[in-house]
């Protein structure tokens, strides 16, 4: 990869990677949190217990801030297809444009029409409609995930397309395109990973309140719901979805799998390196500690299976940054494993009735907050770096896709603009979310005189807009 300042393809890639990575920090929480809101609202309707409504009110504020930043950082993504990837848009727009448009019409319209009702509409709408608004928003966010993943799956494993006389792509079979097996597996893996993020965030805030000895009822609710969902989601994200995802890469992108694992030489009984650094110049893995046969088993189901090595492919077919790909993949696996252990231990402590009182565990759960974001990010880096050097796998190279009329300087200029704007946006987001967490959920308190059966709701600071 030519990464000099004058290479427009590199800067377009870097810009898209940066804006997309930043953008995805927000939807992954809305997709994960959406179903928590649905569940709590449903519990509130069923039981009439006010604590569930308080949880919904509190998390709807966090959700709203996330949603807003998700919207404003998401709109540039669609436009960058045209501004920086004109070659790709011209070539594949007839196919991938369909799902991008459908995402707008079926998912964004639904989400954005109801998100206001979810955040501000509880009193105006009544509980039942408020519940429906929560369902609409959660459904919209997952639908949007599906359409984007169909688009991405097409780039990873193009199916259902046809080539028109000018050599441009269109859709041949809508069913094959929309039900791309890659999309189905990637969607399950990615959505459950979003649930992991949602669970860890809910748990972390619960742990924070528990450590602070604030809002005990809410803290318990967040800790229990968060660790329960977190444990199940952390298991499912590894098996079967992550496992299936890796098998699919092995089947359709064997050279990518070799690079992810740092397999420079192919062979049977391939192991998984627990530790080791790829040394691309010397074409070997330095200082590896391997679990023998594990890769053969994980990728193909038998310990003796033959795993292709990078040596079987010409170097120009290799993903163009093997080191980064290797580290991303291995970091994702490591974090995923830690998540399972941590959440299993939290559930064990909950079973023993010590979840809210085990200070060490609460500290770890609170500080674990950023790690699912990291795991999601390196997971996507694995997928996208692994796809290289192709933009549409096997059909269209990345270097053919960028906008020829846009200079590297223009792209670098707008990239710097995004970095600055997003830095400020990030500060603002953290400040406002931190403030909401500081204010905390409103609580049913037992004031002096509660023996007369009076409950007073402590008013929380009100917000305009």
């Amino acid at each position: 990869m030519n990464s000099s300042l004058s290479d427009p393809a590199f800067w377009s890639r870097f810009q898209f990677g940066f804006t997309l990575t930043y953008h995805y920090l927000f939807p992954q929480l809305t997709m994960g949190l959406g179903w928590f809101l649905v569940y709590w609202k449903w519990r509130a309707l069923k039981t009439g217990d006010e604590k569930y409504n308080q949880a919904v009110r509190f998390w709807a504020k966090i959700f709203g801030l996330n949603f807003a930043v998700g919207v404003v950082t998401g709109i540039p993504m669609e436009f960058q297809f045209g501004t920086n990837w004109a070659g790709f848009s011209r070539y594949a727009g007839g196919a991938i444009g369909q799902t991008l448009a459908m995402e707008g019409m079926f998912a964004f319209f639904l989400e954005s029409a109801f998100v206001g009702a979810l955040i501000w509409g509880e009193k105006r709408l009544g509980s039942r409609y408020h519940f429906l608004a929560a369902v609409a928003v959660a459904t919209g966010s997952w639908l949007s995930g599906y359409f984007i993943l169909v688009t991405n799956a097409f780039m990873q494993h193009p199916v259902g397309y046809q080539v028109d006389p000018q050599g441009l792509l269109g859709i041949g079979s809508f069913r094959a395109y929309l039900l791309n097996p890659w999309a189905l597996i990637q969607f399950s893996h990615n959505q459950i990973a979003a649930l992991v993020t949602g669970s860890f965030v809910v748990t972390a805030i619960g742990a924070f309140y528990a450590l602070r000895r604030l809002h005990p009822v809410q803290a318990q609710l967040y800790l229990r719901a968060g660790t329960f969902t977190g444990f199940i989601a952390a298991l499912l994200v590894a098996f079967p979805t992550g496992d299936q995802q890796a098998k699919m890469v092995g089947r359709h992108q064997p050279v990518t799998l070799a690079a992810m694992e740092g397999k420079f030489v192919g062979g049977p009984d391939a192991g998984v390196a627990v530790i080791g650094q790829p040394n691309v110049a010397a074409r070997r893995l330095d200082n590896p500690i391997e679990m023998p046969g594990a890769l053969s088993f994980l990728a193909y189901g038998h310990f003796g299976s033959y795993v292709h090595g990078l040596d079987e492919y010409p170097t120009n077919a290799w993903p163009d940054n093997i080191e980064l790909l290797y580290y991303s993949f291995h970091l994702m696996i490591t974090l995923g494993t830690i998540f399972i252990v941590l959440m299993a231990y939290a559930r064990f402590e909950n079973w023993r009735g010590r979840l809210e009182s085990n200070t060490w565990l609460l500290w770890v759960l609170m500080l674990a907050l950023p790690f699912p974001y990291i795991a999601n990010t390196v997971g996507w880096m694995t997928a996208e770096l692994g796809r290289q050097p192709w933009l549409v796998y096997g059909l269209f190279h990345t270097v053919e896709g960028y906008s020829k009329v846009v200079s590297s300087g223009d792209t670098l200029f707008t990239l710097i603009g995004f970095v600055g704007l997003y830095f400020v946006l990030g500060l603002l987001f953290l400040y406002l979310v931190g403030r909401e967490i500081g204010i905390g959920p409103e609580e049913v308190m037992a004031p002096p005189g509660a023996e007369h059966g009076v409950t007073v709701i402590r008013p929380r600071e009100e917000h305009l807009v």
Binding site: K404, V406, L432, L464
Partner: protein, 349 residues
Amino acid sequence: MIAVWYAIVSFMLIIYVALDGRSFGAGMLHWLVAKTPEERRQVIAAMGPLWSWHEVWLVGFGGTLLAVFPRILASAFAGYYLALFLILWSLILRGVAIEVGGHIDDRLWQGFWDFVFVFSNFLLAILFGAAAGNVARGVPVDADGNFSMPFFSNFAVRGQVGLLDWYTVSIAIFAVTALAAHGATYLTLKTEGPVHDRSSKWARYLWAATVPLFLAISLESRVVRPDVVGRAIHNPFCWLGVIVILIAAGMLISGLSRRFEMRAFLGSNFILAGLLTTGGAAIFPVMLYSTLAPENSLTAYSAAAGEHSLRLASIWWPMGFALAVIYFIFISRRYMGKVSVRRDTQGYY
């Protein structure tokens, strides 16, 4: 088929302009119609929880454009590179200003975000107006269907054109005026008290100002693109647009003078729709006119995706649009009436 898709894509753009135009207009007039912090909250509350609903129509438009006319999106967005990023950054700032301004009840904080709100909406109205002017005037599309051009050159409309010249600037001035008038009409409908009275006054002034400006840009367009007028008079949709504008102007005038605010606002929407219909029909089928050589121009027919893809898109588009209509009914019912800014309730809208 292709003409129908051209109409659909234009229609989505019209909806976007009519919806988000409220925000552009209200944003530009923010300091003029609302003087106190409470009044300014009223204006923001009129945008409030719906700005993202308005903004996603731009996403719907962009996605549909990519699906149906991929070559237009590829050429135009890359060609308008820097201007497009200014639009994107303004959209980010505008959304953030609406969303976070009210989060903290502090004069300085809200004053700052009010400034961002005004600034970004102004920039958006100017840039969208200039973009429309560029589509009408044409851009230097080469034989491969690509173009790139400077922000401004010597302000000439022929030869080496820039993004801003006297023609596109006058279109931008017209767009600023019309969108401000649209926003004022919307605020008249949605607000009470002093904000309402000032908005109503501004709506009259601004709509009156659009008339001479419209005549001016019509004459300019005739000079800049003489070929268009000859074709336009044979296009029934141009006449449809003109009729819509005339009826809508009637609705607007009677609505504003007799305080039928909903009628005035509908008229305002239809004027924008009529203007864009006339413009869109007049240039059809050329979507990006080449100032270098007319044969380089990208037309709806040369830029469209394959027949089969278009057929597939015509399956899901009506479904998506039907759902959008349902949401629209829900939203209209829920957010009907004047906005109220009260601190003692959970809902502010």
